[in-house]
């Protein structure tokens, strides 16, 4: 295996996603890796973080000792509210999501298919207990859905595939995938590689991907 490249860290990826977010956007960051993105949003840009449990204008974690059990995010972590933020109930919160008012949602995923299908809620093994939370609403409701995940599984298997092998969360809803190896756009023409880790060849990336990739230059 080629070792001329170093995969991006979660912080690297978070920084890339953050850089793609424009001022004035309403953004929901999924539980797990995507939470990191908040750390890289520039202070001079007004970007609004939505949390499906009823927050708009979610701020960073509170200082030690300032935690408030009534002020948590969708991952049930302590957070704060920025000046100009507000609270609302779950009905209104999911009206925002389902109604297409969230500009961007960044989700973690088990698998993404080349047509934009996403699987991120349930492994479907006998021992697993199904639990979906807001994943299906976000997948179907946000104007743009980005996925942030490792390029391959812990066993080294591709997570970007032709067809999902796991139970689906939402159909044809992912617009872009950020992995530790590449940034891939899901287009009508197929999976277009926008950017790759330095030192990684296109063929190597293709070998780690379960669906056909298209080089950006060729589109």
């Amino acid at each position: 295996m080629n070792t001329n490249y170093k995969p991006w860290t979660v912080d690297d990826i978070a920084q890339k996603v953050a850089a793609s977010i424009d001022e004035g956007m309403y953004v929901n960051l999924g539980i797990g890796q995507p939470t990191k993105i908040a750390d890289y949003l520039p202070d001079d840009k007004d970007v609004f973080l939505h949390s499906e449990n009823g927050l708009l204008g979610m701020g960073p974690a509170p200082d030690k000792g300032q935690e408030d059990g009534d002020l948590i995010n969708a991952g049930k972590q302590y957070v704060t509210l920025i000046k100009g933020g507000c609270y609302f109930h779950h009905g209104d919160s999911f009206a925002m999501i389902r109604g297409g008012h969230i500009d961007l949602c960044v989700l973690g995923a088990f698998e993404v298919a080349e047509n934009g299908d996403i699987a991120n809620w349930f492994l479907g093994r006998p021992q697993d207990i199904p639990a979906v939370g807001g994943a299906m609403d976000l997948a179907v409701g946000a104007k743009q859905v980005y996925v942030m995940m490792d390029h391959v599984s812990k066993k080294g298997e591709p997570k970007i595939v032709e067809k999902l092998s796991l139970p689906i969360t939402g159909k044809q809803c992912v617009n872009r995938v950020y992995t530790d190896l590449a940034v891939i756009e899901i287009t009508d023409a197929g999976l277009v590689v926008r950017e790759m880790v330095e030192g990684l060849s296109f063929d190597e990336l293709q070998a780690k991907t379960g669906a056909r990739l298209i080089q950006k230059s060729s589109v």
Binding site: E23, D46, Y87, A95
Partner: protein, 222 residues
């Protein structure tokens, strides 16, 4: 720094194109965004489809918009009032289309539009003229009519105070359709009596979060 506060009502409503669908807040005169409507007249909008509870009173606001020939069709619950003579005349002359919707169904359809539902079954109007030709269904012994969402290109609403991110609070019963109309349009323009600093509106008291509002226009003294 994001600032949704526009310089003038005209600057805001100039974004409205001919033939667009516009939600207009208010119940009678309470909550009617009169100054935005005046600007819409000045903008010489044409062929609008208006969704509003009433069809105008006297010769100002919504009534004037009708009189000036800006409106092709109106969707409302209660067009006929003692002082709705401008609408009445246009209607009788066949110069305006009318779709009458029960007030609660109007609200529910707007809410469905704002919250991404494809359709709803509502018990209101079952078996009446206003449900004629509509799909119906009996669920748990109750009869329902299938109604589709109302979504619009623009919403013009009147609030009390707003900030530069578009957060809004309302005054008393002038709240009426404002909060739900804000959710159901691609572009919501809110006129306010006061623009306040960010953070002045208590996060517990904000009625319309800025996510639903695109322009804020302060009305009154310059």
């Amino acid at each position: 720094m994001l600032n949704k506060v526009k310089d003038s009502a005209l600057a805001a409503v100039s974004q409205i194109w001919d033939g667009s669908t516009v939600l207009i807040g208010g119940f009678g005169l309470a909550g009617q965004p009169t100054e935005l409507i005046d600007a819409l007249i000045e903008h010489k909008a044409r062929d609008l489809t208006i969704v509003s509870n009433n069809a105008g009173n006297g010769e100002t606001g919504l009534a004037l918009l009708l009189k000036e020939g800006c409106v092709k069709k109106i969707i409302c619950s209660f067009p006929r009032q003692h002082d709705s003579y401008i609408f009445d005349e246009l209607y009788r002359a066949g110069k305006i289309e009318l779709e009458v919707v029960p007030q609660g169904t109007l609200a529910a359809r707007i809410q469905a539009g704002g919250s991404g539902l494809g359709a709803i079954y509502t018990p209101t109007a079952y078996g009446t003229l206003l449900a004629e030709g509509k799909e119906t269904r009996t669920i748990d012994g109750i009869n329902y009519v299938l109604e589709y969402p109302i979504k619009a290109d623009f919403a013009l609403i009147k609030a009390y105070k707003g900030d530069r991110w578009g957060n809004l609070i309302y005054n008393k019963a002038a709240r009426n359709f404002g909060p739900i109309m804000a959710t159901a349009s691609s572009h919501t323009i809110a006129q306010v009596s006061e623009v306040v600093e960010l953070g002045e509106l208590d996060p517990e008291h904000i009625v319309t979060p800025g996510i639903f509002v695109h322009d804020v226009v302060k009305i009154g003294a310059e």
